[in-house]
């Protein structure tokens, strides 16, 4: 008979083993490769050491890389703002009753389960020049030319629209879950005290929703910082660098140009930035939780 703790570790060991091999080991490996110059297609395809942190020094002055990070952050903030405001309105509206509500909610859940790459395909078919109905409709009724294959701004905002289409349902339904779990007493006393709807919203709903809001922001931010699939399908990162987010940039540098060393350093910096943002939000969450106790 095994001792109790040994049984516990035994049950846990396959999980730890897989996560260590496929999660931790790649991290250590990429950290190691990041210190070397390595291009398997070069004359000398071995790892070359060119001074400590030479890749990192290069990256700090690499405008394309820095711009891709800035672009990812900008994209995340823009989509988060739109999705959060839209999602909150929709979640509030779902609290009241109106005809066909459950049908509408079911349809709203649909984009959530569709693969990002399929969402990219759907939007490509819908908006591509020559085939898609959207450019035609915009041209015929509004006189607006949509061609995100050439126009950088349109490409960026097209990705934003696609992301909003894909992920607003998630925000709506999570906030709805949070809203339905709120205690009813504060609302009743506020009504007795004669507060109007706006006051109830700003002084009761919002403060009570803060924990849920932070969770939603956290999850959405992490996801939109790592966006690749949809963008790759719709614009391929173009035109120019217009939609080249960090994930796509790393992919192109590593698998098209074969800059293994530089790509590793980029991966590490990318991870680092994600972790910092994650950590800041996490501290806010924890601080918030302590205040409440």
């Amino acid at each position: 008979m095994l001792s109790k703790n040994k049984t516990g570790w035994l049950l846990l060991s396959p999980t730890i083993l897989i996560l260590a091999l496929a999660g931790l080991l790649p991290f250590i490996y990429v950290l190691y490769v990041g210190f070397f110059q390595w291009n398997p297609l070069a004359v000398d395809p071995s790892l070359q050491f060119e001074g400590f942190a030479s890749n990192y020094r290069r990256l700090i002055f690499d405008e394309v890389f820095l711009e891709s990070i800035w672009r990812s952050i900008k994209f995340s903030v823009v989509t988060l703002t739109i999705e959060l405001s839209l999602g909150f309105i929709l979640a509030l509206s779902l609290l009241s009753s109106f005809p066909l509500k459950s049908f509408f909610r079911s349809v709203h859940t649909l984009p959530l389960v569709i693969a990002p790459i399929v969402v990219g395909s759907i939007f490509k078919l819908f908006t591509v020049q020559g085939l898609g109905p959207l450019p035609h409709i915009l041209k015929d009724y509004f006189g607006y030319t949509l061609n995100y294959g050439l126009n950088a701004d349109q490409a960026f905002w097209m990705i934003v629209i696609m992301d909003v289409w894909h992920w607003t349902p998630f925000v709506t339904l999570t906030l709805l879950a949070g809203l339905s779990a709120l205690p009813q007493d504060p609302y009743e006393s506020a009504k007795i005290d004669g507060a109007n709807n706006f006051q109830i919203f700003t002084y009761i709903t919002i403060p009570m929703m803060v924990p849920v809001l932070i969770v939603v922001i956290f999850i959405r931010l992490m996801d939109s910082l790592k966006i690749v699939d949809e963008v790759w399908m719709l614009t391929g990162g173009g035109p120019g660098y217009a939609t080249r987010f960090t994930g796509i940039h790393i992919w192109k540098e590593v698998f098209e140009k074969r800059y293994y060393g530089l790509g590793s350093a980029m991966s590490i910096l990318y991870l680092y930035i994600t972790i910092v943002i994650c950590w800041v939000l996490y501290s806010v969450m924890v601080a918030r939780g302590k205040n409440e106790d």
Binding site: V33, L110, L112, V113, L225, I250
Partner: protein, 284 residues
């Protein structure tokens, strides 16, 4: 007062109708494209539901009966099913250990598993590619371009998720029940079979379905770590972009087929999907 209420009801219904159209219109267009010949797609887009009169079945039969997409579909089914099964079993064991044993550092282990899900996969593409193709080498066998490689790899993001989802459920089963069974001389296997699995069945079902869905939908890692033999449906879909003169009808058909499991799940576990995707975090 009453008119005001009716008014807001009409407004809300109108808003949601509009939203439903925005959600469904692109999908409807994809279905239309998948049923038409290239000639029919030429020129001004025709939005009428022509699939009631005529379906160009070749868009479906060409990739899935004659083409390599049948293999891709087969690979996707194998990878997603095996991954879901593996993840569910491992997560059940791990969650039970985290929930019932006072292991030193189990909190940190729990947190560490979560960080695996948060990390951007693009940052791990290169090391995984190198590890798969050169480092994990057993004779001639490498993990690169194998289904087993993908199955193991998808555990990295599915296991943390499954553990998170199951933790709340297993914590909710009273400890006294397993203690009573241990007193009666039951071993661990019996506890799982007679107590944990029956009581956590709905949670286990949702966990495995969502794991399946995530594995089915995954694109970036599959496209990097496979080349010929283990390609999945999402990677096949992306191949349409690079080829010149895209055959839109076929692309729409492949996209539609790869969407089917998602649609089936939507009907099966609609309520749980949201709870699952939020990581059960709203509760805490």
């Amino acid at each position: 007062m009453k008119t005001k209420k009716t008014f807001s009801k009409i407004g809300t219904t109108f808003l949601w109708s509009l939203l439903t159209i925005i959600t469904l219109f692109p999908i409807y267009w994809m279905v239309l494209v998948s049923t038409r010949t290239p000639v029919e797609l030429f020129g001004k887009p025709d939005l009428s539901p022509t699939f009631f009169q005529k379906v160009h079945w070749k868009n479906f039969t060409k990739p899935f009966l004659d083409g390599i997409y049948a293999d891709y579909l087969f690979n996707s089914i194998i990878v997603a099913t095996s991954n879901a099964a593996l993840v569910t079993i491992l997560a059940l064991m791990a969650t039970y250990a985290l929930s019932r044993f006072k292991l030193p550092g189990s909190e940190s282990i729990f947190f560490w598993t979560m960080t695996n899900r948060m990390a951007p996969p693009a940052a791990f593409l290169l090391p995984l590619f190198l590890l798969f193709s050169t480092v994990f080498k057993f004779g001639d066998f490498t993990l690169f371009d194998t289904k087993i490689g993908l199955i193991l790899l998808y555990c990295v993001f599915n296991l943390p998720f499954a553990i998170w989802l199951l933790k709340g459920i297993i914590d909710g089963i009273p400890k006294e029940l397993d203690e009573a069974m241990i007193v009666d001389g039951a071993n661990l296997f019996t506890i799982f079979r007679k107590l944990i699995i029956p009581l956590a069945a709905p949670g286990i079902a949702v966990t495995s379905l969502l794991s399946f869905l995530f594995a089915w939908n995954e694109y970036l890692l599959a496209s990097t770590l496979t080349s010929v033999y283990a390609r999945t449906i999402p990677t096949g879909l992306s191949e349409f972009v690079t080829t010149t003169g895209t055959n839109w009808g076929t692309m729409a058909a492949v996209a539609l087929v790869s969407m089917l499991p998602a649609l089936l799940f939507l009907f099966a576990v609609q309520k749980h999907i949201v709870a699952g995707l939020t990581f059960g975090a709203v509760k805490g």
